[in-house]
């Protein structure tokens, strides 16, 4: 009997699940860009709702999650070593003041000794026609002051380690980004920049070797879909707004009452 009631509640809840993009939502993703920092579990907790949080487990260097839609509001971002006891005390590392319609990247930048979680405001607005928006995040300490050129023209000059640069508008199309480190090391990154898209070029370092990859932050008017994020506390890959929760609870309660009144 009880299982039947719960199942009914769950079905009802699914029926009233929120639309893909609510009007009061913002987007959040996480990036591990500290080369000597071990993998961490990151937990994002709402100021207003202690029972709502998202935990991203085992984020390792170079990982950049997909965007997760969350209700706009203020959050704490806390870390634990990957695999740590969930009951252990997390270390609060940042706060996020999420505004509706905005996107953010919570990134662990710099070296482990001075690790800080920075909240990067991502510009996912639609670029002008036939243009793309690109920024460079230098997460390779060996690179030093990093210079990125496109077709010989500098796109970014002397990007410091542990710093996310500003977005630049570039012409869309297939091209090669040439990255030059302070030591003179060169890395070529062939990319296709789609018109209307937003990219983050991550410059990484693995065993002393520079590498780069371009991640598409947004395409057209939509952010790139989520992926790779696990939810905690019964988690929520989507937003549970209080009104919907109340509606679901009321419907579930009504269903339970109806089932109880039926003769056995």
């Amino acid at each position: 009997m009880r299982s039947t009631a719960l199942l009914a509640c769950a079905l009802l809840a699914l029926l009233v699940a929120p639309p893909a993009q609510a009007a009061s939502d913002c987007y959040l993703r996480l990036a591990h860009l500290s080369p000597d920092t071990p993998p961490v579990d990151v937990t994002v907790t709402s100021f207003a709702r202690p029972d709502w949080s998202v935990t991203i487990k085992g984020v390792a260097y170079g990982a950049l999650s997909g965007y997760q839609r969350i209700e706009s509001g203020t959050y704490t971002v806390a870390m634990r070593p990957a695999g740590a006891d969930p009951a252990s005390a997390p270390v609060i590392s940042a706060t996020l003041d999420g505004e509706t319609g905005r996107a953010y990247t919570v990134a662990g930048l710099g070296k482990y000794a001075n690790l800080a979680l920075d909240v990067l405001a991502d510009d996912i607005t639609l670029p002008p026609a036939n243009q793309a928006r690109v920024r460079v995040v230098n997460a390779a300490p060996l690179a030093g002051g990093l210079t990125v050129k496109r077709d010989g023209a500098p796109l970014v000059e002397k990007a410091a380690f542990g710093v996310a640069g500003d977005y630049r508008l570039v012409a869309a199309g297939r091209t090669v980004l040439r990255l030059t480190s302070t030591q003179g090391a060169l890395t070529d990154l062939p990319v296709t920049l789609e018109a209307g898209s937003v990219y983050s070029v991550l410059v990484l370092e693995h065993d002393g070797v520079l590498s780069a990859e371009a991640r598409q932050d947004a395409k057209g008017a939509a952010v790139v879909p989520t992926g790779g994020i696990e939810t905690g506390y019964g988690g929520a890959a989507w937003t549970w707004s209080p009104a919907l929760l109340a509606l679901a609870a009321a419907a579930g309660g009504a269903l339970v009452l109806a089932l109880r009144r039926r003769p056995a």
Binding site: T45, S46, F47, I92, T95
Partner: protein, 781 residues
């Protein structure tokens, strides 16, 4: 042991005196020779030798105590009926041949300062009195036997009177004079150098003790003065250590009188006299009128050292320079040298009071030199003391003397110049003349580079006054006029009209008016008038000296004007009391330092104004002088340009960048409104209102939000340090509790900056959690 009586009796009143020798348990040695032998009577046992020497004796079967022996002698020989005076001596006493000549006048006087006669209240006299009492009441005590014997001259009519022999503690009344040659310094040193005090252990101990006591008493005022500079409480202890036991002894042997509290001062003078007679020089006792001088001087020094006078415009920079080890001018160099030698900056509550210690020390030297000047000019010391006392009561005078600067130092050097110069002229001593020249150069070097018209004007005044005194002593006052012209013009040019005249000008101008009546002081008048327009410490000292000279001159003309002089001095003092020193507490640098240490980021640097800079630096606060660079966090007493973060009386900590994001409550209000709705946060409406109003630090709210994810949290209150109560800074002290306090403590310990609290303590209301201010400026990252 020989019996003898050498008839050295002089003509005079000796025929009126009978000598009664109390043999007690001693052998009678040389009979007193101050009277003919037929006037010598002996009471005791086994007196054959005395009888053989010609004395009249009464033998007793047993040793009698003192009173009984005297009574037996008086009765047996009817001395009271036969002689107007009776001199009672212990066997073995050697009476100075001049004793009777000295003692006769004393029978008509209540006190004596004659070194041949024991002075009432003096240390030897009271020691004798104590042992005398012991001897009388406890004859068997060795201490009584070992004490120096004494002699007493009494009117016969007084025998039996309470002040007579039955009252051992009553010394030097109108009827009784006690004497002991052993207390004659000249005799003592003769015996000491001749080694005649070594044979008897008691005598040797007595001699050594007396010398040591005299040295200690002479050193005592110096020790007290030194301790007064280092630690006033220790100085009080040093005073009490001497005064209280001394007073107790007085109570034992004499009458209860408050005046006895001043006896130690007299003992200092007696000890000095005693030690000076080491070389056989005739001791010249210090006139009692000098006793007032150290009291008045101490009062002035105390008033000056304890006056809470606001800093002068030049003081803060001078103090900072000395603390930093800089010496931009001679005054700063002297201050730096003094504070280095005495470690003054480490001993005082503020660097300003530490620096002002030099001002007080300079005043001590000045007053010592003024004492010498008083003696050399033969001014009545009590008159000078009265003027100094009046100066001590005068608020404006103390206000001028207390601050450190060129003034007190110039006053010190010039007073030394005057004392050494006068002594050089009086004694025709070239070395003293060289000292005078050196100190005059020091005064010039101190005052002139300071550049202030006050110092230059006052220097001119003082130099002319000193020259006047010197020349007057040399009887060449006629040349004073031409000499005074040039400095007067220089003083007018330097002083006018840089500073408005102060109330100090009134006594200075009155003194100048009075100086017109004294021919040899007339050339000084115009210069004093100019000095009156400049003010400063030298003017105070010059005025005081001039007034003392004038009053003394008045007393020369009219000796009966004592009361008038005293009334005049008290009147001036009363005027000074009406205008007390302007006291204003300085910035509470310790509170500022405590706040900075507890609330600023560890690498934050405050920019402090002059004066406060050295205090905060000494307190261990990273601080920069305002002149070094534009400040980020500025301490200022002016109207703040920027945002006030904390206030300490007249001084505020100001953040010039009013647009600093940390001060914007908007983002805090958004976060706070959400946190106030958190179902696991339990708080009063007042606390929730603070959260919604953006009045709580965002780091504190982040920690609360994190805690609420895992615990139910009771937030009792939010607050901030008291000195920030009027500022726009958010609350960053939370008082909270959870059901598991151990888990709460562990949770808080796990946090890292900037969210890790800087202060966690348990209070009756819960756990108080506080954060420092975040980095607000470029220099506080």
């Amino acid at each position: 042991m020989t019996f003898a009586h050498s008839a050295r009796v002089e003509q005079g009143w000796a025929h009126d005196v009978a000598v009664l020798v109390l043999a007690h348990d001693r052998e009678v040695g040389e009979l007193p020779s101050v009277v003919p032998v037929d006037q010598v009577f002996v009471v005791g046992r086994d007196l054959d030798r005395a009888r053989a020497a010609g004395a009249r004796v009464v033998e007793t079967l047993a040793d009698l105590d003192r009173a009984a022996a005297v009574d037996a002698g008086l009765r047996a020989f009817r001395l009271a009926e036969r002689f107007p005076f009776v001199l009672v001596v212990d066997a073995g006493v050697r009476i100075d041949p001049a004793f009777l000549d000295h003692a006769r006048p004393l029978l008509d006087a209540a006190e004596s300062v004659d070194p041949h006669v024991v002075v009432p209240g003096s240390l030897p006299a009271r020691a004798v009195a104590v042992t005398e009492r012991l001897r009388t009441r406890h004859p068997s005590l060795s201490v009584a036997r070992g004490a120096p014997p004494i002699a007493r001259l009494s009117r016969s009519a007084a025998l039996g009177h309470p002040d007579g022999l039955d009252s051992p503690g009553a010394f030097s009344t109108r009827s009784v004079v006690t004497a002991d040659r052993a207390h004659d310094p000249a005799w003592f040193w003769r015996e000491f150098r001749g080694g005649r005090l070594r044979g008897d252990r008691v005598a040797t101990g007595y001699a050594v003790g007396r010398v040591v006591a005299a040295v200690l008493m002479v050193v005592w005022p110096v020790v007290v003065a030194g301790l007064a500079v280092l630690d006033p409480r220790a100085a009080l202890v040093a005073v009490a250590v001497v005064v209280l036991p001394d007073y107790l002894v007085t109570l034992v042997v004499g009458r209860v009188t408050p005046a006895a509290l001043l006896f130690p001062l007299r003992r200092v003078a007696e000890s000095w006299t005693f030690l000076r007679s080491w070389r056989g020089a005739p001791p010249t006792p210090l006139p009692r009128t000098w006793l007032l001088y150290p009291l008045a001087a101490a009062a002035l020094v105390w008033r000056t050292a304890t006056a809470s006078v606001p800093p002068t415009p030049t003081e803060p920079a001078l103090v900072d320079a000395a603390y930093a080890g800089l010496a931009p001018d001679v005054t700063a160099w002297q201050l730096r040298a003094y504070t280095s030698l005495t470690d003054a900056f480490a001993r005082h509550d503020s660097t300003l009071t530490a620096a002002r210690e030099l001002s007080a020390a300079a005043l001590v030297v000045t007053l010592l030199a003024l004492a010498a000047v008083t003696a050399l000019l033969r001014v009545r010391p009590w008159v000078t003391a009265l003027v100094i006392a009046a100066t001590a009561l005068g608020g404006p005078a103390v206000t001028a003397l207390a601050p450190i600067g060129p003034g007190p130092l110039v006053g010190m050097w010039l007073s030394l110049t005057a004392a050494a110069g006068l002594a050089a002229v009086a004694r025709r001593n070239a070395v003293l003349g060289l000292v005078a020249l050196t100190t005059a150069v020091a005064a010039l070097l101190t005052a002139w580079p300071a550049g202030g018209p006050t110092a230059r004007g006052a220097l001119t005044v003082a130099l002319v006054l000193i020259a006047t005194a010197l020349l007057a002593t040399a009887r060449r006052a006629a040349v004073l006029g031409p000499i005074a012209v040039l400095p007067t013009l220089a003083a007018v040019a330097a002083a006018w009209p840089a500073e408005p005249p102060s109330v100090l000008a009134v006594p200075a101008l009155l003194a100048a008016a009075g100086a017109v009546a004294v021919p040899w002081l007339r050339p000084v008048v115009p210069v004093v008038v100019v000095g009156a327009l400049t003010g400063g410490a030298p003017l105070v000292l010059v005025t005081a000296g001039l007034v003392a000279v004038l009053l003394d001159h008045l007393l020369d003309r009219r000796p009966r004007a004592r009361v008038g002089v005293a009334v005049l001095a008290l009147g001036v003092a009363a005027l000074g009391v009406v205008v007390p020193p302007v006291g204003r507490p300085g910035p509470d640098h310790r509170a500022i330092a405590a706040w900075a240490r507890a609330n600023l980021p560890e690498d934050a640097t405050l920019v402090a104004p002059a004066g406060l800079w050295s205090d905060l630096r000494r307190d261990g606060v990273p601080v920069r002088a305002a002149t070094d660079a534009p400040g980020d966090l500025v301490l200022t007493s002016a109207v703040p340009e920027g945002v006030e973060l904390a206030r300490f009386g007249d001084v505020a900590v100001v953040l010039p960048d009013a647009a600093n994001p940390y001060l914007d409550p908007a983002s805090r209000a958004r976060a706070g409104a959400q946190l106030a709705d958190n179902t696991r946060l339990h708080a009063s409406d007042e606390v929730r209102e603070a959260l919604r109003g953006g009045r709580v630090d965002l780091r504190a709210m982040a920690v609360l939000a994190g805690l609420c994810r895992e615990h139910d949290v009771v937030l009792t209150s939010t607050g901030k340090p008291a000195h920030e109560s009027t500022s726009a800074l958010p609350d960053r002290v939370l008082t909270l509790s959870t059901s598991d306090s151990a888990a709460l403590a562990e949770w808080l310990r796990a946090q890292q900056p900037p969210f890790a609290p800087d202060d966690v303590r348990t209070t009756p209301d819960g756990v108080a959690v506080g954060w420092r201010l975040p980095a607000l400026t470029g220099t506080t990252k």
